[in-house]
């Protein structure tokens, strides 16, 4: 735990919101994630970087309950958490915006926002009107021009679908937000909107894991970066301590620069 000196936000004594330790998972002999450790503090954005297949999406899906880890421990707020299904994860306040958005295309925005957590009337039936009212509220905050509450989400534009997915994640007062390529389908203006949202959520004390290919995005939004390669963590660094070129070196070569804390996946320096 000596590495702690170089990690964490301004208050190093705070308990991490999430602390994943020595997580491993294998799919048919391929170690998709191999002994990865990562942590996240309140009000902090940690970017996960790496090539396709580096294991970042898999690691994050273990946290969101989509995959069951083979080994390793997850702590949420310092308490050991047992997460083996998406429902468990949501119970800990972990919400995920998946790269594929994971929307049911044939139902409308409100039905997607409340999927699995529908509001019910006193009769035990679906309270569609109340759900639509909540949907209008949260969508009004994210995307004020959005009016198509009766259409199935398959008829919405890429940006509108993205805002539905984001709205679903923040609707239930998430404390930990996972964003897997949140801006991949967006134009410049909407990307800027997502950036604003991330800053706003940060200010509310929510911890965010951001998976992205766009290194500029990452340096704009993230407090720390964590680079993965071949399922292992190459290193973790504060964005102020490393340059973009150094981070690229971590991604491509697995070379850990002096400003970063090396992980098990770092290439041993010749020295």
């Amino acid at each position: 735990m000596t590495i702690m000196t170089n990690q964490g936000p301004a208050t190093p004594t705070a308990t991490p919101l999430v602390d994943m330790r020595d997580i491993s998972i294998a799919f048919g002999g391929i170690r998709a994630v191999d002994g990865a450790s990562i942590d996240l503090y309140p009000g902090e954005v940690v970017a996960l970087l790496g090539h396709n297949g580096a294991g970042k999406s898999t690691l994050i899906k273990i946290l969101s309950g989509a995959y069951k880890r083979d080994t390793g421990t997850i702590f949420v707020n310092g308490q050991e958490a047992s997460i083996s299904s998406p429902r468990d994860a949501k119970g800990y306040g972990i919400e995920t915006i998946y790269q594929t958005l994971a929307l049911a295309d044939n139902v409308d925005a409100a039905a997607n926002l409340f999927l699995g957590r529908e509001l019910k009337t006193a009769w035990g039936t679906l309270d569609d009107v109340a759900m639509e009212a909540e949907a209008r509220k949260v969508m009004g905050r994210l995307n004020p021009r959005f009016q198509r509450f009766k259409d199935p989400v398959s008829r919405l534009s890429g940006g509108q679908r993205q805002s539905v997915a984001i709205a679903r994640a923040i609707l239930f007062n998430a404390r930990i937000l996972i964003m897997d390529e949140p801006t991949a389908a967006l134009g410049p203006q909407e990307t800027a909107q997502v950036g604003e949202l991330v800053k706003q959520l940060k200010a509310d004390g929510i911890g965010i894991f951001l998976i992205s290919h766009d290194i500029h995005d990452v340096f704009d939004l993230a407090d720390r970066v964590c680079v993965m390669k071949n399922g292992q963590v190459v290193g973790t660094a504060r964005t102020t301590d490393v340059t973009q070129d150094e981070v690229l070196g971590m991604i491509i070569l697995g070379k850990c620069p002096p400003g970063a804390v090396p992980g098990p996946g770092a290439v041993r320096a010749a020295a």
Binding site: A102, A104, L126, V129, A133, R148, Q160
Partner: protein
């Protein structure tokens, strides 16, 4: 980016709409459903003309409603099965098996082994319940293998088609079981199995009040949350059309009188003097039709107003997303098949009561009619979309064609050819409609 442009476009589009477009937007009616109704009316009028005025008579329409009931009931369940990208090929055989269970129960097992005498008023209730339980258990068994063991529904239910047909044979070694309990037989329709004109009008009035109440409560709900409302004329129009349709249907059912022979026997048994013009006793709504309508309402409620229904559609739209949202997709799938089994059990009661016998051939090829009804009714085989009402209309449409062709004296092989072509045509039209969207 795109959402910036779509909002003004929507508004522009609304102002460009013609009368038909404005009408649809105001009433929020489904174009596909209107198309189906139009097709049904067209078929009815064509058959009426071709048959020289035999089709659109109270008698034929009443019989049509009774004949459609069994397939319509199963089609409502098939919608859920197909919406979740599954299929159930076993419903005809499950119907046969359940009918055999109900038949053997009331004629042999209950009177001989369980001490319920023939003629007891519990007999039909116990027989019916045992058949329904058999349906749920069979559905649950198949659903378990499909959902938890991962065998494709096509294969499981194809196996089920053989297994349950064989099971029906095995229950009585192929013997036909008859006759059925008199009360049980009411579920099959016929002069006795209808509720008469007075009760039919009561049902009609209750239904009209129900429709108006529903329209009003939806409007009030939307008002409470300040959502956009339909124009008042649209609400009034919908209410009036619905009430006229209900009252008209009951008027037709009440215009079909008992055949003279049955009236004479009934009059003699009850010491009623037959007046000169002959005693006219109306059938009213048939009990199997009432059962089908009830099933339709319950299934519509389940699909649109409950969590279960919402999950069924979400799984059909995107199974992975449904699982990630924390829905127990396997359990939902298993429940769908249990529901399908229950509905096959209800249809089994109607079919065997109508025949006044349980034979091991009962329900043969019904699976194809049920699937065709659901698909003609707008259920997409790709999953994710379909309505209960559509499937029931689909069943009525298929039955109209078939009984119309019987009226016209068309040979059975040609009937099959026509029904087959209509199925393909209907799906083709639907495919074009979907692409246009």
């Amino acid at each position: 980016m795109t959402d910036i442009t779509t909002a003004p476009v929507d508004r522009a589009r609304a102002s460009e709409l013609g009368f038909a477009g404005r009408f649809l937007k105001a009433t929020e009616l489904d174009v596909r459903m209107l198309g189906m109704l139009a097709a049904l009316v067209l078929i009815w009028i064509t058959l009426h003309i071709l048959s020289g005025g035999l089709f659109l008579t109270p008698r034929n329409l009443w019989n049509l409603s009774v004949q459609s009931a069994s397939v319509a009931i199963m089609a409502t369940g098939m919608v859920l099965v197909i919406v979740t990208r599954n299929i159930d090929l076993s419903v005809g055989s499950v119907l046969g098996f359940c009918a055999m269970v109900m038949g053997v129960m009331q004629t042999q097992w209950l009177p001989q082994y369980l001490g319920v005498p023939i003629g007891s008023s519990y007999l039909w209730v116990l027989a019916l319940c045992s058949g329904l339980v058999a349906g749920v258990v069979i559905g649950g068994l198949q659903g378990y293998v499909i959902a938890y063991m991962g065998v494709p529904a096509f294969i499981v239910t194809l196996g089920g088609l053989l297994v349950w047909r064989g099971g029906a044979w095995w229950l009585t070694s192929g013997q036909t079981v008859a006759p059925m309990d008199p009360t049980y037989r009411l579920m099959g329709g016929g002069p006795e199995g209808a509720i008469g004109s007075t009760w039919s009008w009561v049902v009609a009035v209750v239904a009209c009040i129900g429709v108006l109440f529903l329209l009003r409560s939806v409007r009030q709900q939307r008002k409470r949350f300040h959502f956009p409302l339909k124009p008042v004329w649209a609400e009034v129009l919908l209410g009036v059309v619905a009430c006229v349709a209900i009252l008209g249907a009951v008027w037709v059912a009440n215009s079909y009188y008992w055949p003279a022979g049955i009236v004479r026997r009934y009059a003699a048994e009850n010491n009623i003097a037959v007046p000169d013009g002959g005693l006219q006793i109306a059938h009213g709504i048939a009990i199997p039709v009432l059962m089908a309508i009830t099933v339709g309402i319950v299934m519509t409620f389940i699909t649109t107003r409950t969590r279960f229904g919402r999950y069924v559609f979400a799984i059909g739209g995107n199974p992975e997303a449904a699982a990630l949202a924390g829905i127990a997709t396997r359990w939902v799938t298993m429940k769908i098949f249990m529901l399908m089994g229950l509905l096959a059990g209800i249809s089994a009661a109607i079919s065997s009561a109508r025949l006044n016998a349980s034979t091991n051939a009962l329900g043969t090829l019904d699976e194809l009619l049920v699937i065709a009804a659901a698909v003609i009714g707008g259920t997409s085989l790709a999953g994710g979309s379909g309505t209960v009402v559509g499937a029931m209309l689909g069943a009525l449409l298929m039955q109209s064609l078939q009984s119309g062709m019987v009226l016209l004296g068309i040979d059975t092989p040609l009937q099959n050819i026509v029904v087959g072509l209509v199925l393909v045509l209907a799906v083709w039209v639907d495919t074009i409609y979907r692409k246009r969207l």
